[in-house]
């Protein structure tokens, strides 16, 4: 049984707490949060202790920590937990600064136990099935990847302000998908972005609508479309063109019900947002971490993967400003 300390009892921490509880091989031992009520409520639900973050990391009876605290604490907590010999699963991103992320990577290079980054989408059953089909050669050699990634509605300006911008906060998932599918880090990045959804986002110097193109050393190309608003709900799709065909992941809808009427044939809306769409992915992600913690499998998403995606985000951010393609340096 893996005894887990959860650092952060917010929205995503609650998702993880439930999955830790439901997984037959892990148990939620302790919870910390800077809001005591949040920690109390969550700990109470699963019979866990409320502790400070430092206490949890120092406790030898805790095998692993799940870091679901604010982004600016991630790198520090990863380093501390690794130093204390814990297995670590940290929500993305490592940090908003590539330099800090690189330092964290260096500091944890010799970690004795697995350190994993929470890129949830890799664990979506649909994306995973596409990856497997591609790996099995079903479309030959990959050539052109297209990722569609639209949120249902923009976050509040208060969040945008500390988010690191659309590329570091949102598109970073899609950059990771591209690296994961192509098994490589792109050489160059070109991005165009604008603020069409919410003028406040533009006023903060960020974009809410963007297209990023990634060029890989061997000529493969990936293109990512992002928008902070899709009136119909979360839209998360992939199309991968290869020499022998096209693999696609369609969006996931709430039901298979459709209604034909004088207005046309109307199917269900997509799952509203990531908590619904990726509910199964979070379960699989946790099971995958548990397996790594028990030494049964490699960590499927490494700190290096987090660094790579962040480096692309940094390049995309620079490209929108300069209008030129930007080299990715990692």
């Amino acid at each position: 049984m893996l005894r887990v300390g959860l650092l952060g009892a917010g929205r995503i921490g609650q998702v993880h707490a439930k999955n830790i509880h439901l997984d037959p091989r892990s148990t939620l031992a302790a919870v910390s949060d800077f809001l005591p009520e949040a920690a109390n409520a969550l700990a109470g639900r699963y019979d866990a202790a409320v502790r400070s973050t430092d206490e949890i990391i120092a406790d030898d009876a805790i095998d692993a920590v799940l870091i679901a605290s604010p982004t600016d604490t991630h790198a520090d907590l990863i380093e501390k937990a690794v130093a204390a010999g814990k297995a670590v699963l940290c929500e993305k991103p490592i940090d908003l600064s590539l330099a800090r992320a690189l330092a964290c990577q260096a500091a944890t290079r010799d970690a004795k136990r697995p350190v994993m980054l929470g890129f949830n989408r890799r664990f979506d059953p649909n994306f995973a099935a596409l990856k497997a089909a591609f790996g099995a050669g079903e479309i030959g050699k990959g050539e052109l990847l297209a990722v569609t990634s639209f949120d249902p509605a923009p976050p509040p300006p208060s969040y945008v302000k500390v988010s690191g911008g659309l590329f570091r906060d949102m598109a970073i998932h899609d950059f990771d998908i591209a690296c994961w599918l192509f098994g490589a880090v792109p050489e160059r990045v070109s991005a165009m972005g604008s603020s069409l959804v919410d003028p406040e986002i533009g006023a903060l110097g960020d974009v809410d609508t963007a297209v990023t193109t990634l060029y890989f050393a061997d000529g493969r190309i990936a293109v990512i479309k992002n928008s902070r608003r899709a009136a119909y709900g979360y839209d998360q799709r992939i199309e991968l063109l290869g020499s022998d065909g096209l693999l696609s992941v369609g969006n996931v809808n709430e039901t298979t019900v459709s209604r034909a009427s004088a207005a046309g044939v109307t199917g269900a809306k997509p799952e509203h947002f990531f908590l619904e769409r990726y509910a199964r992915a979070y379960v699989a992600e946790w099971a995958s971490f548990v397996a790594a913690a028990f030494g049964e499998a490699e960590v499927p998403v490494s700190v290096a993967d987090g660094v790579n995606a962040l480096a692309i985000a940094e390049a995309a951010t620079a490209s929108v400003k300069s209008g030129a393609a930007v080299e990715v340096s990692v």
Copy 2:
């Protein structure tokens, strides 16, 4: 907390045990099975006691029993559990004999606690969404209902022999769906059937391929297509034509992945069989029973519903033999 005794630790009992355990408002207290190893294994997994069926029913600390034992024990166990003041959820059917089911209905008419029959499909999120849309008037008045219900592969002859035949064993679910959607019991039933899938099924006097038409007093019609074999997997769909349009539930596929190649565009297979397709339905069914057991809601599937579906199955079985439409008598 609802303390539950599970009677039967087979395939479907195991599904229920897990859902009883996961539901925050119920706990698996005891398990019985005529195979001690089966009871032991399941009880061990969820920290439950192994007891005899009679002990469980007699135990005042048990609030509810879930009957997942062989069909020929259902009616007796329902009656005993009701007599002992338990809330009861029983797998379908009540019995293979309509007379016995009617007797059970009479015997349990004054039950103090809820008695519910496990027609799992009503709890499928897709079918439930169709029902809700229909109830909301989205297609006006219902006129013509079509249910497609194909199993992936035929059961072994040993099962067929004791199953009561395709109509009582398999189509009974679809008959319940028709009654549920139309809010009525049909007046007449006409069925045609043959044995095309497995000659052994025919040799046992049963059919493996059938079409049943239900005629309701006000002229509405429902048609059910059944086959014991669909090479592509479980196929469970509904189409309901109304005065203002058509509501459909499409099959549920394993993923949203598709592959376009020189051979065409290939999407995922459907979920393989009922354990996969109705996994979410079983969870919702159990939550619904718990709510009824706590007096928060009506029992959504009554013993009378089980009797009605069985009466239709009996009529369909007779119609295949006589070649004429048969009145439904309940």
Copy 3:
């Protein structure tokens, strides 16, 4: 060049006139209609002569006649045209009376030139592709056929009165599809019908909603769903379950455009009615007749096919009344 006389300049006659004109191997030589204006207008459009029906049949310079006149003239005109040595394409049905159709079949058995019946659906590219795939063994042995056939809106009572009823007028197409796909005539027919769409149809003794089940000698089963009203437009689909899988023809929609909005994902409506849905089928039907008239191919739909479908319609009509399955006698 096949010189064609068109008997009947109504809605369907106009469709045929255009296709006769566009086919590089046929020319519209003459048109007759009991309404002189209709004949004049159509003949004028394609530089054809206006003649009486008798003149056309008597004219040795006319190679073929297309009979698109009222149903009660079909059998007489087929016989006269055959006697005059013409190749004949006649709109369905041969007659509303099975006895008359059988007499026509007998009278034309020794026709020297092809006599073809216009079951347009066989020529629909989608249905034809399903037939070809089935013939190629893609789903093994056929077992259970389901045909959905809904009109967008009911015809006026004046039409219903002379139509011969839903089974002879509308479902006859679907009966032909079943015989065509299964390569056999069913042994028994059972039907249920009611009048839910338009009470005037019921008052005329007809039904507007029906389910017909066909039982073939070797146990194969076909089921036909008919409604005179689908608020969303024409609905013409086939599903054929075989030992190795399922072949389906989906409905044909006006466009591939869809719109995702807060209300769901809405695709285009189906083609409105048969003139739109079967536009390509009529072209292919005509080309197929021309090939037969030139002796290059067998007639793809024979008078016997028309007789068979009518016999099924007669049995279905009787079954609705008697409530029993009715033997098909041809």
Copy 4:
């Protein structure tokens, strides 16, 4: 009746010849081609005269010319035909050189009769329906346009050599679609391309796989994906995200037939290539030109539209080389 001279009897000339013949308001009067046999064969099929290009342009009895000759003759022939007072429909592009196209635009600015460019896709019923739905405000304000445009197989190197490259030859259609839908010319263009499909294409200095991003002055963004090879056939789709939803045009498949088997659910392949996919578009394009020639409607695709698309193609070609975004200058 519009009397038409066709300049060029190749593959696309043959498509136009048929549509000119079938349109009730136009007639094919004369055909020219540098290969006499080609001109003879086509003229023979439609009872047209074979003439030289100069004779056709000089003939006062010819009302309109359709230019379907090699690209390097387009601009000259447009100018000559306009000078001779003809209505002109010219296949895209005007020329491979933007300077020459601009000169042609200047020379034909005062044309007395319509001059139209053959961007066939605008006349595809699906794309036209998307445009109409967008114009009707169905998704609010447009924000992010994505066009997928893959050919089934690369052209031979001999064609690539004279084609002007992927952007001028193939993507130019998609650039026109973007301008047409957004009603504007983009301000800046960024493109990445590589040669992954056929190394000979790379050796000729061209690309066969490319992503082009267009940035419009008001912040709207369009992205075009191109490949010279899709193993499954022609792939032509549009997705347009707006403030209130998403409009999509799906690919057009050969049939609506699908097959469910142990391997999954396989639908039909897309229409193979542009002659099949855009067959209806060519008919509508011609009808639209005829209406313009008769003064009933504006020319729907102007020479200026051709210039704009070419300017974008030129910018994209430059961007692939420089790695920077390039301003569009028209």
